[in-house]
């Protein structure tokens, strides 16, 4: 997603100074009950411990790493350096710490700083600085991609130590020297990239009892590329806040406070029922808010860090709603192990999704419609007045974001929000007409009667299509067999399953057949058939044969498409069986090339001689569509459509014969003719390949005949009768 990830090197001073107590205490006392607490009060000095400065820094650094890894995963480019600890293998510096666990392992292997000071502490720091700049110049995995020559290689060095003016000056000088020499080196060495921007952040860490000179950072431009920032921080909460400020600034992250999270609480607890959880995420998440109004309307300052407050909304937790989102970023709770955060994350990890709601939009950022609209002066219909009121009330509820987990990753989505969803008012279909002038809105309204989903469902073979959906529901594949693209398998499956499958219930008898015949329709779809499968298919065929001999009723659907005028029951039954065999032949023929077994089954059907002609045209007519627009021309040239439509109008009769909705009119049933008639008609419709000459002309393919005739005859026969110049071939075919 983000191609411009900054590298970050964190240097921890391991000198004796950091072995000093920080003033931050920890308590191993277990607070079970009030009574025990009182009792333990006596022993408090036995349970209270003091953290060293070192401990405080490690805590902070690990928190920094944790947030980065949660949000950027493999892209969190972190290198940890502890002065005096040798880590010479530069080549792996961006692969060394791939997750928080590895960072922890690194610290677990380091002894706490020694209380006796070493003489060469300053040299060790200088060495680490050199190491840091070398690391920043080393290619990360992404930079190894050859075409990334113009990659902007930028990085951050954060140095936790103690500083005085002299020391700062030395570090700045050293950093500059190392930086320049490395950039020179980068010109000659391929595995080095020049550092184009580097922020050197110095954090002066002090024990709690030492005051800090200023809480504001001090900036200094060393060179145009190298910037230095100095923070002062007392160990503990202040250091943590500084770390958070640095983190947000360096990696362009921001905080959001999810407020009003309802949580079930045991009755005894006195705390309130609603909680706030702070989450960290890329700053881009807030961009959508800026379009509405300046962020200040939702901003709050919490412990010196600003956060945007969004309200938890109990609108819907159903992840099966498809929200209109346009961006998604990972996020991480700020205090991940707190009870509130754990509650939120567990809720999301269980699969729910939560909409976040915006507090009220300030008046100055929205148009007050009543103020600007002047209803006395201009015309406003009642309709619009009603929509007006809904607009104003709806402004009170604006969903701006959604939090959700994707395969155990927490994400925050920005929702395309507005108080009005125009999509919901769109008509049910797109109407093509041949009118030059448009229809009035009322006429349209009448045409666009909503189609009830339940009514549709009755006629369509939904169950069978749902089976296809299930078969081709996509899942990620971990391993890939070489040369095969999994998604193409899905396309092949879809092709196979829809090859000879009717869309409408009233088009088929075969697919309504009970067991064991239904085995035929499912087994044939397989790519390989076992001997067992083949015999099952043959049994199914034999079964139908027996049914026919015994004169059993077939499950002919209501309003069957091919019902004919034949009235007697016997004839009807024969007709149905004839159709069924025809259908079986057509169905199996579609798959006969799959394997020898398929061919064997097909041969078996042919041998039964139940059907006479082999016909290529589909017997499920609704599967084929007549395109309303020419498919090769996307432009909606109105003249083209009109002509096309006229053609279609001529074929209107044919069209009506293929309607999937019921034939409730008896006259139409009679008009549908016998099956034989239909097949004959079908044969005639079978299209011959287009003549080359005709194909050159656009539909409706009017081709001038005797093109040169006109010029010649005009010479020889100037007042002769004009020959007919064009003829509509399509009429003759």
């Amino acid at each position: 997603m983000d191609h411009q990830r900054n590298k970050a090197v964190l240097i921890l001073d391991h000198s004796s100074f950091f072995a000093r107590p920080s003033g931050v205490t920890f308590n191993v006392n277990v607070q079970n009950s009030d009574q025990q607490q009182q009792q333990d009060q006596v022993n408090n000095e036995n349970t209270l411990g003091m953290k060293s400065l070192w401990t405080c820094i490690v805590e902070c650094v690990l928190e920094y790493c944790r947030i980065l890894f949660d949000i950027f995963e493999d892209d969190a480019l972190i290198t940890l350096i502890v002065t005096g600890i040798d880590q010479r293998d530069q080549s792996s510096c961006w692969n060394r710490y791939k997750n928080l666990s590895q960072c922890m392992d690194f610290f677990a292997g380091i002894q706490p700083p020694n209380e006796r000071s070493l003489i060469n502490d300053d040299d060790l720091l200088k060495h680490s600085l050199n190491e840091a700049i070398t690391a920043l110049c080393t290619r990360s995995k992404k930079q190894n991609i050859p075409n990334d020559l113009d990659y902007t290689n930028s990085g951050h060095i954060i140095l936790f130590s103690t500083f005085n003016n002299k020391r700062i000056a030395t570090i700045e000088k050293d950093a500059q020297t190392f930086h320049q020499s490395h950039n020179h080196m980068a010109l000659e060495m391929t595995d080095f990239v020049p550092l184009t921007k580097c922020d050197l952040t110095l954090v002066d860490v002090r024990p709690l009892d030492q005051p800090i000179p200023t809480s504001n950072p001090e900036f200094n431009l060393i060179t145009s590329i190298l910037h230095r920032t100095l923070y002062y921080a007392q160990a503990g909460q202040m250091l943590f806040t500084r770390m958070l400020q640095i983190l947000l600034k360096q990696h362009n992250l921001a905080l959001t406070t999810v407020t009003g999270i309802p949580m079930k609480e045991d009755v005894a607890s006195r705390s309130s029922l609603n909680y706030d959880v702070d989450i960290v995420h890329p700053a881009e998440v807030h961009h959508s808010l800026r379009e509405r109004a300046p962020l200040k309307y939702w901003r709050q300052i919490k412990d010196d860090v600003e956060t945007i407050v969004l309200k938890w909304s109990a609108f819907s937790y159903d992840p099966e709603n498809y929200y209109d989102t346009y961006s998604a970023y990972r996020f991480s709770p700020l205090d991940v192990n707190s009870r509130e955060s754990a509650c939120l994350t567990n809720f999301l990890l269980s699969g729910k999704c939560v909409l976040l709601e915006l507090g009220n939009i300030p008046n100055e950022c929205a148009v007050n419609i009543n103020e600007y609209g002047d209803e006395n002066c201009f015309n406003t219909s009642e309709n619009d007045l009603s929509s007006l009121t809904t607009t104003t009330t709806a402004t009170n509820r604006l969903f701006s974001h959604m939090i959700i987990s994707h395969n155990q990753e927490l994400m925050i989505h920005a929702i395309a929000f507005g108080s009005n969803n125009p999509m919901s008012k769109i008509g049910p279909c797109y109407i093509v007409n041949d009118e030059k002038d448009n229809m009035s809105i009322n006429d349209l309204e009448e045409l666009m009667d909503e189609i009830d989903d339940d009514n549709l469902e009755k006629d369509l073979r939904v169950e069978s299509f749902i089976n296809i959906i299930r078969t081709t529901t996509l899942y990620p594949l971990e391993t890939m067999t070489s040369g095969k693209i999994p998604i193409e398998d899905s396309l092949r499956l879809l092709e196979r399953h829809t090859r000879r499958c009717p869309l409408l219930t009233n088009e088929t008898i075969l697919f309504n057949m009970p067991s064991p015949t239904n085995l035929l329709t499912s087994l044939i779809l397989r790519e390989k058939l076992s001997d067992d499968d083949v015999s099952k298919c043959l049994i199914a065929l034999k079964y139908i044969d027996n049914m026919e001999r015994n004169g059993e009723q077939l499950p002919v659907p209501n309003n069957f498409q091919y019902t004919t005028k034949i009235v007697t029951n016997k004839a009807k039954k024969d007709e149905a069986y004839r159709f069924l065999w025809r259908e079986i032949e057509y169905f199996v023929r579609g798959y006969k090339e799959t394997s020898d077994s398929h061919r064997h089954i097909y041969q078996n059907i042919v041998d039964r001689r139940k059907t006479d002609i082999e016909n290529d045209s589909s017997i499920y007519q609704s599967n084929k569509i007549d395109f309303i627009f020419p498919t090769d021309e996307t432009s909606s040239t109105s003249t083209m459509i009109t002509k096309r439509d006229k053609n279609l109008q001529e074929n209107n009769e044919k069209m009506n014969g293929r309607v999937w909705t019921e034939f409730n009119d008896i006259k139409q049933v009679v008009a549908a003719n016998s099956l034989r008639d239909m097949w004959n008609r079908k044969q005639q419709e079978k299209r011959a390949p287009e003549f080359d000459g005709r194909a050159e002309y656009p539909p409706p393919r009017l081709i001038p005949l005797y093109v040169n005739l006109n010029s010649k005859t005009s010479l020889t026969n100037p007042i002769g009768i004009q020959p007919i110049l064009t003829t509509n071939i399509s009429e003759k075919i």
């Binding site: 890894f69 992840p319 600007y372 395309a416 899905s490 879809l494 999937w660």
Partner: protein
Amino acid sequence: MATTMNIEKRSLVAKIIESLMTNTNSPTKLETIALVFFAGRDTIKIVQHFTKNTDDIIKSVQKLPIFGDFSLKSAIDFAKKYLTTTFGGQRSQKILVFTDSSHRDDDPIKESTYNNSNQMDIDLRKVITNDERDKTSLSNSTTDISFVCIRKPSSSDRARLEDITEQTQCSFSKIYWLLNRDVENNTTITNEMIQDVITQIKSDIMDVFISILKCGHYESQLAVYPKIKPAILQTTGELLQPSNTLTVNGFIELSSIRSAMATSKHILLPIQRYTRPQPPMPMFATKKSAISSSSSSSTTATANSSLTTQKKSNAANNFYYLLLISLKKEKSAALISVNDQWFGAIHCQKFERKKKSSRLILSVFEPGDCIPWISSFERLGPYALVFPPANNSELVYKKQQWPVKPFARSYTETFLIWCRQNNFQNDINKFVRASAKLPDKVNIFHRELNKICRGAFIYGLRDRLFHLLRQLFQHQIQTNKIKPDGIKYVQNVIMYMNRLSSSDRYIKYEETSA
């Protein structure tokens, strides 16, 4: 019929809008339009709120009064704000500004000698829902502005319009004009001129994309609205055009695709062919009977019944409806390819207007694999192959979990984060409480022990912490908080901590080491 320039510019603009309105009444009913009138820096009025009824717009236009000067910038600013208020700001919106293009009071340098007694601008806004920002254009702004001018603007006027657009942070789209003052000298504006401009505007903003939806051998033709815009494949920088055919590649459950972010959303509508019959007796034909279709065999049929027959004769939409119903019932989405390496998803959305009616909505994703939780579209395989049924049996579908990327996230796994006092306290509490339950749940006690000891090493706390813990446990034993059977475990642990304090590195506590 020719209209001469003598008429007020106001009525000319009114005429353009009127004509545009009559023509834009597109069969989809997709657009909603508002009219904002502005005259003078302080006089901005919403003449007509967003409506679908174009007649209202026309009526409003005809009633527009005459005002004096104006400021274009504030008008556009206002229009933008109005749009954001009503629809939100993420999807692109369109503003059409009607202006006479020359001479601005807010721009004294360009004072000209034109007589602008009746100058006015009308701002007509057309919101096309969820039309995504044009990725190919340089500007990131989501609001497009087009200007409709009476005369072709001079280059300086044009520059000024572009400048205003930039100031308001919109993207400049196009200028239309009626009279080309460079070429033509005549001062008459004919209806044809208006028509020409209208056709242009219409084709630019109202274009519906006709596409074929394909799924194996099933096909359906449908209208995609708004048009899918070409997009750039980030990995190669290649510009991809949407193909005419949307091919269904497979399906993904809605609970797995989880509102994947889309660059644009489109509504898919089935196409209804509607041919107006030639009324047998046109003289007597009322408006209603004219609509009634001739497809009904009897001309005497009432308008209503013939309309219904008309509606039903749409065999071409079978697949559309089949997909719609199936997706709705199965709570699934169809993964479609718009082009090579460019995917989208179709899902079924219920509509507010009538509870039982739904539409298909297409979400177009950014080209390439840009959805973090779907690492690669091409690596998605069909259920039948990913989870093949055993022993040649029938395929039974059972929803499967998507694989979780093996990455240790701090919120899914327990990490020792000790930078807050209560985090540390919780971990210690768990440990000490586990000790009280000994000899039951030894495993839990040892697990907590290992956690704490590792933490002590990580945070460089071992001397102090182990010392305190040893004291604590001795105290616990003295005060009989540890069950007699558990004491030996605790004593083992105290010994282990003793050893650890002098060790260089963390060694996991194991039963055998005791």
